[in-house]
């Protein structure tokens, strides 16, 4: 089971993730070309200008207006990437399978990052439920997605610390992690892919066309 999950199924999930993502991006590029009025207005400079202003914490006015939210989302997204990618256990698998391995995080740091993800997921959930403007636009899908994000981290944390019958939890963790990966191209998680392009386009609309700025 474990071998299957960390072997062919890991392959599969990575494949779905990468090919799916590639497919979505190519599809977007082709559509944008057909729409005709997209590319003629775009420049690299204005694209980068906008992207940078939105991946640097507090660079935009709205981020400054909502400091708590800004810290939470940045902590969340960084941890979301860093924890799984630089986890010792994940890299051991990578090394065993394909002989590659990334730089790894100290275990306690990885633990903290995992807890951040879980905590911010809880915060996001609370916000969804109690901030009227967020609740108004929340659907079941949003909640389920949030749960699906949290679960791999919760189970991973449990498995690592061997709280329960850890074998089953570990299996669940791997399955959930792989599901999450495969969901990226096909759910709202695709915002991860599109972010750079929507930002780039708006950056050019505001910067290149309108001589203004969008942050």
């Amino acid at each position: 089971m474990y071998a299957l999950l960390t072997g062919p199924l890991l392959w599969l999930s990575l494949l779905v993730f990468f090919i799916g993502s590639l497919f979505r991006i190519i599809q977007m590029f082709r559509l944008a070309k057909k729409e005709k009025v997209i590319y003629p207005y775009m420049t690299v400079r204005h694209s980068l200008r906008s992207i940078i202003h939105w991946i640097v914490p507090f660079a935009g006015r709205n981020m400054r207006l909502r400091p708590f939210m800004t810290i939470a989302t940045f902590a969340f997204h960084l941890s979301l990437f860093a924890a799984p990618l630089f986890l010792v256990a994940h890299n051991v698998i990578l090394d065993a399978r394909w002989g590659v391995s990334l730089w790894v995080l100290p275990e306690t740091v990885a633990d903290v990052l995992t807890l951040i993800v879980i905590a911010v997921c809880v915060f996001f959930f609370v916000r969804r439920m109690f901030a009227p403007e967020v609740l108004y636009v929340t659907s079941w899908g949003d909640v389920i997605l949030l749960v699906l994000i949290a679960l791999p981290f919760v189970t991973g944390f449990i498995a690592h610390h061997q709280f329960f019958a850890s074998r089953a939890v570990l299996i669940a963790h791997i399955i959930l992690g792989e599901i999450m990966l495969m969901l990226v191209p096909f759910t709202r998680l695709s915002h991860m892919l599109y972010f750079f392009f929507t930002r780039a386009y708006m950056g050019c609309e505001f910067g290149n066309v309108r001589n203004s700025r969008d942050w």
Binding site: M28, L31, V137, R188, Y194, F206, R210
Partner: protein, 435 residues
């Protein structure tokens, strides 16, 4: 539960709804809202994480006790998402609400695009809804009437050709009394620039034309105005979703400038007209940019003051604040030049907060004021934040380099009983300049 919206009767919407069949609605919605042909529609739709971070961008949301139906994404939920949810099988009741949201509750000011982490263009969604409404014949009566004026007379206010020329000659005479030799040169081929304005100038604010004559004469400029249709740079068809009429108006405006062999067009103090003439119109007509440059009044006055062609005799004394018109500040980055002008003309300029690109819309723009009297209360109630913002400056005068802002803020001042007067830049300029 959220309180129901105030019922508003608008024959342009209500009567048209009676003629719609479910099949007709579905066909039109499918045709216009087709994410398969628009990368923007598709990607914006897929990318939105429903986070609500755009909500505090919108003056209508901020002015209505943070009622989530007025947040940008809330407007998308009630319109675009509903279409998807119902698989395009939306009914006349939906169209009625969608028309209200898109035509009256959104100014297409695009402030929210500066607050959404993804830069999602909510105004574009709303414009898509307006296009659907136009194709279905569901457009607020007064807005439609304005568009009818555009399609018929190529100007916004049914101004007859003779009245146009007459207004210019009469204002030329008026300007002559202030500055000897003042002119409004008509049909001068090969002048340096054509000056274009919006129809309220000849119709109700003719002294603004005399102001231009005084300023241009004093500055020694070589300019002209057309004595044919094509002089009006405004465009409400852009906002009603009637892009064919929008294009016809913009085409004529630019062809008039090309006919006069001018090197650029300078336009009066209006925001949406800049948007129509520089962005939306040319884009529909397949011009990537305008065929010759367009200079907004703010840039024009800035150059005159900066170069010393116009000198200030005695600065305006009363405390003055300013409104940043979305379409030329967020839409052209003229905020700094506007402040240069304010400081050059006024002794006591009090800036607003938030300012420049981040300033709030006047709530009249985006065609909303042209929806007319039935919607006036909704419009001014939807901009309480503007009233508070103006009040905070303690200014007695607010300068609005845009006709929509001018009227919109006058309405706000009246409704919230502020003791402030609204002026155009040119009014202050003519008052304080060396003549």
């Amino acid at each position: 539960m959220l309180a129901n919206r105030r019922e508003v009767a608008d024959p342009g919407i209500d009567n048209a709804l009676k003629k719609l069949t479910p099949e007709k609605i579905e066909a039109v919605v499918r045709k216009v809202f087709n994410p398969k042909v628009s990368a923007r529609l598709k990607v914006y739709l897929d990318t939105c994480v429903h986070c609500g971070l755009c909500s505090n961008a919108c003056h209508t949301y901020n002015s209505r006790d943070k009622d989530p139906r007025y947040s940008p994404v809330g407007k998308v939920k009630q319109t675009i998402w509903e279409i998807i949810k119902k698989d395009y099988k939306v009914d006349a009741g939906f169209i009625k609400l969608a028309a209200r949201i898109a035509f009256v509750e959104c100014n297409a000011c695009r402030r929210c695009s500066m607050y959404c982490p993804f830069g999602i263009d909510i105004a574009f969604f709303m414009m898509t809804i307006r296009r659907i409404c136009h194709l279905l014949g569901v457009v607020p009566q007064y807005l439609q009437d304005t568009v009818n004026s555009h399609s018929t007379t190529m100007n916004q206010m049914w101004v007859q050709q003779d009245d146009w020329i007459d207004a210019l000659q009469w204002q030329e005479d008026d300007a002559n009394m202030e500055v000897a030799g003042a002119r409004i040169p008509l049909e001068v081929e090969g002048a340096d620039f054509m000056y274009s304005v919006i129809a309220p100038e000849p119709k109700i604010l003719a002294q603004l034309l005399a102001n231009m004559s005084i300023i241009a004469t004093k500055a020694g400029l070589n300019w002209t105005m057309p004595a044919t249709d094509g002089w009006d740079n405004s465009n409400m068809a852009m906002y009603s979703g009637d892009f064919e009429t929008m294009a016809r108006v913009e085409k004529l405006h630019w062809e008039t400038a090309l006919r006069l062999k001018v090197k650029k067009v300078v336009m009066g103090e209006c925001g949406h007209a800049f948007r129509g003439a520089v962005y939306d119109g040319p884009k529909w007509l397949s011009w990537r940019k305008t065929p010759i440059p367009m200079v907004h009044a703010i840039e024009f006055y800035y150059d005159l003051l900066k170069s010393g062609k116009i000198k200030v005799a005695k600065k305006f004394a009363e405390p003055v604040t300013v409104q940043d018109p979305c379409n030329v500040v967020r839409g052209r980055g003229l905020g700094k030049k506007l402040r240069y002008i304010m400081n050059a003309l006024c002794a006591d300029f009090r800036d607003v907060e938030p300012r420049m690109e981040h300033n709030y819309c006047c709530a009249a723009g985006g065609g909303v004021i042209n929806c007319g009297a039935p919607w006036k209360r909704d419009r001014v109630e939807g901009n309480k934040v503007k009233a508070e913002q103006i009040k905070q400056t303690g200014a007695d005068v607010i300068v609005t380099p845009c006709h929509n802002c001018h009227s919109g803020i006058e309405d706000i001042i009246g409704f919230y009983k502020l003791k402030v007067h609204v002026k155009f830049i040119s009014e202050i300029m003519v008052e304080v300049m060396e003549k």
